[in-house]
Symmetry: C2
Subunit: 509 residues, 2 copies
């Protein structure tokens, strides 16, 4: 299914210049890109080669300087602003002569942490494939100047899809518009975030401290996230929030021989399983008291938009090899509820390193996605209340022997940072303009989606700056975002080049 | 508590030569050891420096040759026998002039696999500590010749306690007896096993192929396992059996973004938790149908011996920082039931490497300890029946996408090797002789224990050779057997030297 559909889309994309009367900016973007695919990919690979985990303070700054240099080469002066020694934001603006509005463009250049051993190539060894690995693609050389690449080709690297792709596409768009002297129709404010993947813990501070730089933005365009699973372009009005915690439960204070103590000493892996099983039913309903209580209801417009989305459940189940899903509702409906996900489990060892012991601890990394109405802290409180109700004494630090000796069940809970969901009104003043731009760029109908499943720090822009935001994703849905072998499908990168050309030249009101 | 008790025991041990009239062999062993502690420890450290995981075929052979050389230096010729390219057994005999019986001595020289990153020093970097690490011991230099070491000192290395210690002690015993020209009173057959820690999968073949070498053994002495948790010496009449399996459950065929798919795609870590929770209650009762059905009842002698054992539950709970245990019965009673232990859990990542994904698999390593009456295969069948009853389709190989698409719940089950429990009659002809020898060596009452919690391939000696076996452990119970920072407490190593002197010179019937 996906192969057929993608091939069809590639066919349609190839015919597009003849099928629709794309406006000059999109045409300029497309012909520039077609002539310079090799250069764009080489430059993008150079960018992807710089490791971009937010905690890697040296490399994260190298990324920021790289962005600054690349924009400077297009005569756009950006500042690398730093607060408190945390990853910088890169920001600046382009003044459009006579423009009466200002668009903000948000992208993040950091990526999720990596387990390098699970990547086919290194996470920062950008590798071009003829097609997706999981669809039989094989490594191929980067193209020579003037050579065109199959739009089904994929570029693999951490950040390739999430979220350096918009930066690579924006640079190509700027080149294309400058080449043909096409004027922008809005002032543009750029904001490149360097720690989105750990929850943008300092963005609030950046926005407050440098509020003046962002004050005149009428609408923020969040360039992040994937297009629809049908590969149709989408414009998204909200995001889920996110939080999480790590829970460690304890057996004896040292690993024990499973023969001499098995059946007598508590087994942390078993305790953790029993605890997690009380949190969620086998059909996916979260059993934590009050977990669903604060969910905001859908508006009529959101309900209508939802019902218009193509059903993707069955093709997705084919693609992902799933015989069932949690709950019975369609995917988009499930994303309008908060979720509880076991992101990781660890106790002792499995496989060749498994030993005949009772490990002394077991740990679960739990992720919680939030929807409009959920307060991140209050949701974690509910999870903790549940853990307590299961008989656990909760601690924040690794417990001492005397504490363990005193409490039959001890759980160390480490709460993660988090931020709430946002859902902007679908009646947004500029919304129809943005949708029209995406339609010009793609030559397709554009889906209007109430919320993305993923999370972006949209709420900060609403809360600190009072400015609404719309998400304009470009990445393929199967980009292995946050996982090993993250990638971008070239057709999606090229869509980005066209989309930004259309957005930067939207007709004045 | 443990510190006080150990100090008291050390005090008693120091007085022993004056308190009891140890027979000449034990006296010879003790004075030889006291004069040569430095040399014995140096030699033992050289032995421990050779990596000894059974799968490491090069090093496992180095261990075998080392044993052969060490015995050759005491004029005992051993053969290194090899079957099928698996770890060798080292075997041979000492003829005692005029002896009317033959004792078999079984020790294994391989150790459990290691996760080197979790050891304070390398697993094969033997390191001497002033006392146990967990009781505040610190690293110290090996003693100079003639220097005596605190018997509370510990030597850390893989195999230090399980099970190279008896080999080091036996060599010292032989030196001591030869030094004073003390004659053995039994013929001795040695059998050093090189793959006990992976279930001695070829010992059956070795015993069958070389049966003639073992045919006249009247009783096998299994030199393995720990003394009682009270640090009192014990003689043990049985062992638990062991088996196990690894279970992997599946979500989507690739890791998914926890935002875009969380609440819709099944979460393998959650599925595994729900499955494991159905297997065992929070108070430690295994809920698998028939799990306890085939347990052999205790004999009256076993019941009586059990009731005479000192209660160790409360001091052990202090030592291990446990506020509760599984079940309500005392430790020794719990060991007479089969156990189900989560040895390992793995899904995605926890800690700094945790990412916002839904991992595509979750795996549990399950250990099953068996008691008399349990058939290993039949017990695993019961676990599999349970997994099926929970709705899982069981496969043996990594499932294809089409198989996953067809079955709502798929579990890959990899069954481990296993062997049954054994429990010899406490009325064993030579049993009282062995107990008396242990009493001479220790100067203490010796506990008679129906079964060790751990596992040894005793059943093979009973089944293939028709020869009974008794276990004569020397290691400290807190030797971190099978775990990181395995160690031997020197007082226990010295007990071994004395014990073997007493056993090798037991009065003729």
């Amino acid at each position: 299914m996906p192969v057929l559909r993608s091939a069809f889309l590639a066919f349609v994309l190839a015919l597009l210049p003849g099928l629709v009367h794309a406006q000059p900016a999109v045409e300029a973007a497309r012909s520039h890109r077609q002539a310079h695919e090799a250069q764009i990919l080489r430059d993008y690979a150079d960018f992807l080669r710089i490791p971009n985990v937010a905690s890697d303070s040296v490399n994260i700054r190298r990324n920021a300087r790289h962005i600054q240099q690349q924009f400077a080469a297009r005569d756009v002066d950006l500042d690398v602003l730093t607060v408190d020694g945390v990853p910088p934001i890169v920001t600046g603006r382009i003044e459009a002569p006579g423009a009466t509005r200002t668009l903000g463009i948000y992208v993040h250049y950091d990526g999720q942490p990596v387990d390098a051993s699970r990547w086919t190539h290194g996470p920062w060894t950008p590798t071009l494939y003829t097609a997706a690995m999981h669809q039989g693609g094989t490594p191929r050389a980067f193209p020579a100047d003037g050579e065109s690449v199959d739009p089904e080709a994929r570029l693999y690297a951490r950040g390739a899809g999430d979220d350096k792709a918009p930066i690579a596409a924006l640079l190509a768009t700027l080149d294309a518009l400058q080449e043909r002297d096409i004027e922008l129709t809005s002032n543009i404010v750029f904001l490149f975030d360097g720690e989105e993947e750990r929850g943008s813990p300092h963005l609030n501070q950046y926005l407050s401290q440098y509020e003046g730089r962002f004050a005149d933005v009428d609408l923020w365009l969040f360039c992040d996230g994937p297009v629809h699973q049908s590969r149709q372009p989408q414009v998204v009005f909200g995001v889920r929030g996110v939080t999480g915690m790590e829970v460690t439960v304890y057996g004896a204070n040292r690993p024990l021989h499973s023969g001499h103590y098995g059946n007598w000493s508590p087994v942390p892996g078993q305790m953790l399983a029993n605890l997690l099983a009380t949190m969620k039913s086998t059909d996916g309903a979260v059993l934590i008291d009050g977990f669903y209580d604060t969910v905001a209801p859908l508006t009529a417009a959101e309900r209508a938009a939802l019902d218009e989305l193509p059903l993707v459940d069955e093709p997705l189940k084919d693609e992902l090899a799933l015989a069932r899903t949690e709950g019975t509702e369609r995917l988009e409906e499930r994303l309008l509820l908060p979720s509880l996900t076991v992101r990781g489990l660890a106790s002792g060892n499995v496989g060749a390193k498994a030993r005949n012991i009772i490990p002394s601890t077991a740990t679960a990394a739990l992720g919680v996605r939030l929807v409009k109405g959920n307060d991140p802290n209050r949701m974690l409180d509910r999870v903790e209340d549940h853990i307590r109700a299961e008989g656990y004494h909760i601690v924040r630090e690794t417990p001492s022997d005397s504490l363990l000796r005193a409490h039959p069940r001890v759980a160390k809970v480490t709460r993660g940072a988090g931020y709430p969901a946002s859902r902007a009104s679908m009646g947004q003043p500029l919304a129809n303009q943005v949708i029209a731009a995406a339609e010009r760029a793609s030559g397709q109908d554009v889906l209007r989606v109430p919320t993305l499943g993923g999370t972006l720090p949209v709420f900060l822009f609403e809360q600190v700056l009072g400015t609404p935001a719309i998400i304009v994703p470009i990445a393929n849905h199967d980009n292995n975002q946050h996982a090993p072998d993250e990638n971008i499908r070239l057709a999606n990168l090229w869509y980005g080049v066209d989309l930004y050309a259309a957005l930067l030249t939207m007709p004045a009101r």
